[in-house]
Symmetry: C2
Subunit: 214 residues, 2 copies
């Protein structure tokens, strides 16, 4: 397809597509003659991903380039490609390791991983942004005077594990590894607001079932 | 306890507590003499809630006052008090009902609620911010060219329903209705980042179980 059709099918303006091409977020089309290039379905797919990252995820252009670099690097194993692509997305700041609440939160998080039997996640704690984010949040709870510990978190973690199983099952329906990894990046950006909306909707359903509408 | 002790036990400075008192976010202590007031455990609990809303939830002071008004209004039924308190928190903007993607998203959301048998949530769609938020997010997906429909969302919604059951079971362990509703408001602010962190951690655990560490 020509640039005009790529623009129409993606809903992204020609000027923006040209900007993405210049920034290297989209590979050039196949040059047909000096003024015309031809684009294919893969360009369209990649363009939608870039747009989702920038518009919905508010990911900076330089980070988009970095994430796509991981997505495209098929010299790496699958879990690593998945990890590095998602890890390049915006993350919580580093916890202050001197802080007593942070230290207590590490302890709680380790107890939680042991209780769940998440041996792999436990091996990754030194490098995982997800683990860091858990510690920061549990520390914030504790600082406010709420000590939600491993016992309380474990049933939530079990449900989130079933959610992750669904995520990966959905991911594996995509034919190629490149598409699967694109899907995972997209999920990291788009799924969280959907889950949050479904969670709040479920709270409304469950509380009106228990207490009625009055 | 005196103001100094309230400050020490909550970790909130005396100046900030005085500000909350002036703004009506905290009820005055029992006046012992012209310069000294006495505070109790209820003040401490309320102070922690206010601080969580302002510091972690970034809720504006006027909204905190509005939420607390609902929390304290025991003329209302429990589901309504829960709903209005949580509904007063920051929400997504109104969807543009003229937009074709929004219209398609309404259809998808209605199909989803029918399939799940969430009759109560269906009765609330006209007023529910959670429903609105679902529609806005599904419409954003569709605009980007991804049509995640009711079939794909249903298993996630079932898991979020189990999460909501846990939320309410935990809430019901609190003795009084006032404390239960405070707990629900707190959950709306603090639980979402915890769930997000656990979800990402579970994705790491599950993907390394499936694909190894290479």
């Amino acid at each position: 397809m020509r640039l005009a059709e790529l623009s129409e099918r993606s809903g992204v303006s020609v000027a923006t597509i040209k900007y993405y091409l210049r920034e290297g977020l989209l590979t050039p089309g196949r040059q047909v003659n000096s003024t015309t290039a031809e684009y294919d379905e893969e360009h369209l797919r990649r363009l939608r991903l870039v747009r989702a990252m920038i518009q919905v995820g508010r990911v900076p252009v330089a980070t988009v380039r970095e994430v796509l670099g991981h997505v495209d690097d098929d010299s790496l194993g699958r879990a690593i490609r998945l990890g590095t692509a998602v890890w390049a997305l915006p993350q919580v700041p580093e916890p202050d390791e001197e802080d007593e609440y942070v230290q207590a939160a590490h302890q709680e998080a380790t107890t939680l991983l042991d209780r769940l039997g998440w041996e792999n996640a436990k091996r990754l704690t030194a490098v995982s942004p997800a683990y860091r984010s858990l510690v920061v949040t549990v520390a914030a709870f504790r600082r406010l005077g709420y000590d939600w510990g491993a016992e309380r978190l474990a049933p939530y973690a079990e449900l989130m594990h079933r959610t992750a199983v669904l995520d990966l099952d959905n991911m594996e329906t995509h034919p190629s590894q490149a598409e699967q990894i694109e899907f995972a990046v997209l999920g990291a950006i788009l799924n969280e607001p959907v889950l949050q909306a479904l969670h709040r909707l479920a709270q409304e359903e469950e509380s009106t079932r228990r207490y009625g509408f009055e």
